[in-house]
């Protein structure tokens, strides 16, 4: 709405401050072009972001205060869903399973990934070949690999128990035993997850300047000393990054569990994400499912925050 009317022959600056006039006054023509281009460029992205990320996020939060099974309108029920959480055995069990999996798989996984990275860092030929091989688990369909592992884990005719039998060990019932199902899942998920982690760590290793190793050698450090005083301290940032990412990812694992064990036996491998899926899409309790999901989000935030806070104590170069 321009303030400059056709009959106004007058001054350069308009008298009335319309929005467009304000805009024209505040920015030069070049700046205006940049601003408009900027907004136009981000427009498709922003629209999608608002529609499929921000809006669902806010919507999810509002659903946690309702009871909704999609057959009728949502019923507002205040904080009842949150109160129900405390009494819900299934929730606490699923939470326990998620923690069991996360803290069972991630530390061991990072340790092995680190060893793998150290090995890959030796100046050996064929790194690309090894990388291809080790990455195969990660890039194949989870349905396919979980299916094969399901087969390998069969207690009576699976390969794993057969191999164990060769060395005289009576293999457990793996995915059919409540005690061994989660360890079985942990092994499978680490088979998939260790190589990508090790590649991130490898990148970190390759960033360590060689002069530091030479200096350490001059000061009399053996291989182990170099590892302890040069490699490890300088790897703490990469390790920290991998740790944060792995914990967040581990708490959200879904498809591996769904295909390998369907959350069984007897819910032994029903993690939080599986529970949320079940609540929402098997039992259609949208309100309660959103509440559990919100709690998962909160847990992730707290975990990450804790790691962040502790980081400056052990991560090299981390300033609070």
């Amino acid at each position: 709405m321009s303030a400059i009317t056709a009959s106004d022959p007058g001054p350069v600056l308009p008298r009335r401050r319309g929005a467009l006039a304000e805009f024209k006054r505040a920015f030069t023509a070049l700046q205006r072009e940049e601003t408009i281009s900027g907004y136009l460029f981000i427009l498709p992205n922003l629209l999608g972001f608002l529609a499929f990320t921000i809006f669902p996020l806010l919507f999810a939060f509002s659903i946690t205060f309702t009871e909704w099974d999609l057959s009728k309108a949502p019923q507002f029920n205040g904080l009842q869903n949150y109160a129900a959480l405390f009494k819900d055995d299934l929730f606490w069990k699923a939470l326990g399973k998620s923690f069991y999996y996360t803290f069972g798989a991630v530390p061991a996984g990072i340790f092995l990934a680190f060893c793998l990275a150290l090995l890959l860092n030796q100046k050996i030929k064929g790194v690309v070949l090894f990388r291809t091989i080790y990455f195969l688990p990660q890039v194949t369909l989870v349905v396919a690999s979980a299916m094969v592992w399901n087969w390998l884990y069969q207690p009576d005719f699976g390969l794993l128990n057969f191999l164990l039998g060769l060395v005289g060990i009576q293999g457990p019932r793996w995915i059919y035993s409540t005690a061994w199902a989660m360890p079985a899942a942990i092994i499978y998920c680490n088979w998939m997850g260790i190589p990508p982690s090790s590649l991130i760590l490898l990148a970190g290793l390759q960033g360590i300047p060689g002069e530091l190793y030479e200096a350490a050698e001059i000061d009399g450090a053996g291989s182990f000393g170099r590892l302890r005083y040069v490699t490890l301290p300088l790897m703490t940032p990469s390790l920290f990054f991998v740790m944060v990412i792995s914990l967040i990812g581990a708490m959200q694992t879904f498809s591996q569990f769904y295909v390998l064990t369907q959350g069984g036996p007897a819910r032994a491998t029903t993690t939080l994400t599986l529970y949320i899926y079940q609540l929402a899409f098997s039992w259609f309790k949208m309100g309660y499912a959103s509440t559990v999901a919100a709690v998962l989000f909160l847990i992730l935030l707290i975990l990450t925050l804790i790691q962040w806070r502790v980081a400056h104590r052990w991560v090299y170069g981390f300033s609070e």
Partner: protein
């Protein structure tokens, strides 16, 4: 007295222990050790794959044999044909391919455009908006999947490919990646173009985009593979067979109740299902690995 050159630490005879090994030989030992461990690890990693392929060529009876046979006694190539026909895999491949392609192209376009704008163009609120983007990166998919499903339902997109494609056209991670990349490009390049009177869009299209090929390749490969492998979201929105994607189709074969699980066909199906992705991965390995390293993301949920 040890010599202080950086190249060789020479120990005198009296300082050498009984097990002292020369530096060159030590390096050789380390390398052999590394090869050994990596080789064994590689074999262990490949065992499930070998097992899948070997089983796919066995007859159903032989699969159940115990102790299991290492090599199939006769090669049953017909398992593949049986598997292909028993479930409409052609449809699944087609669906998955065109969904993955659409999402990838869409994301490349929206994310590179926005990434460039966030990195290089100045407009009010730019940094605040980007901060908003970043803050949502930690939100777990479980939180978003429920309202997203309800949204799809209200839009009538349930069981259609729109539900799989449209939400995937934009990615916070993709935007972040592209912005990071664009912020490393020297400003002089843009200044020169602008002085010559280049519009911003032309700048983006003819100069920035060609330069950003590595980043585009990385994002492209990551997106394509993650969309191809995506499991949870298609599981939620797709219900009828003709619209299923490849992972869902494979699951269908596994879960069907009509006949006892035909493991020989299941293994065959598994093998040909992963082949396309393996090819894509081998070709674009460099970029995929780079994408993983920068993002730390490890596949889809």
């Amino acid at each position: 007295m040890t010599s202080l050159t950086a190249e060789r630490i020479v120990r005198t005879e009296s300082e050498k222990g009984r097990f002292y090994v020369g530096k060159k030989r030590r390096q050789l030992l380390m390398n052999t050790f590394a090869y050994l461990v990596l080789g064994l690890g590689g074999i262990a990693t490949l065992v499930p794959f070998y097992w899948m392929v070997a089983s796919s060529l066995k007859s159903l009876g032989e699969i159940y044999q115990f102790p299991p046979t290492l090599l199939p006694s006769t090669l049953h190539f017909e398992n593949y044909i049986l598997a292909w026909r028993i479930i409409p895999f052609a449809t699944f491949f087609r669906n998955t391919a065109y969904i993955s392609l659409s999402v990838t192209l869409g994301q490349l376009f929206t994310c590179s455009l926005a990434g460039y704008a966030f990195a290089r163009l100045r407009f009010p609120g730019r940094d605040r908006i980007f901060l908003l983007y970043l803050s949502t990166m930690m939100v777990p998919f479980s939180v978003v999947m429920i309202p997203l499903y309800i949204l799809m339902r209200n839009l009538g997109w349930i069981d259609s490919h729109l539900a799989l494609i449209v939400p995937g056209l934009v990615s916070v991670f993709g935007t972040f990646l592209m912005r990071q990349f664009f912020s490393t490009i020297p400003k002089e390049l843009e200044d020169a173009a602008r002085i010559d009177g280049c519009s911003f869009f032309r700048l983006y299209w003819t100069i920035m985009l060609p330069i950003s090929k590595p980043a585009v390749a990385t994002l492209g490969i990551l997106t394509f593979m993650n969309t191809w492998n995506d499991f949870l979201w298609p599981l939620i929105v797709i219900s009828t067979i003709p619209h299923k994607t490849l992972p869902l189709g494979l699951l269908m074969l596994l879960e069907q109740q009509a006949i006892k699980t035909p493991w020989h066909m299941v293994m065959a199906a598994g093998t040909f299902s992963i082949l396309p992705i393996l090819v894509v991965f081998t070709l674009g390995q460099k970029y995929y690995v780079q994408g993983i390293v920068t993002s730390g993301l490890k596949g889809s949920a």
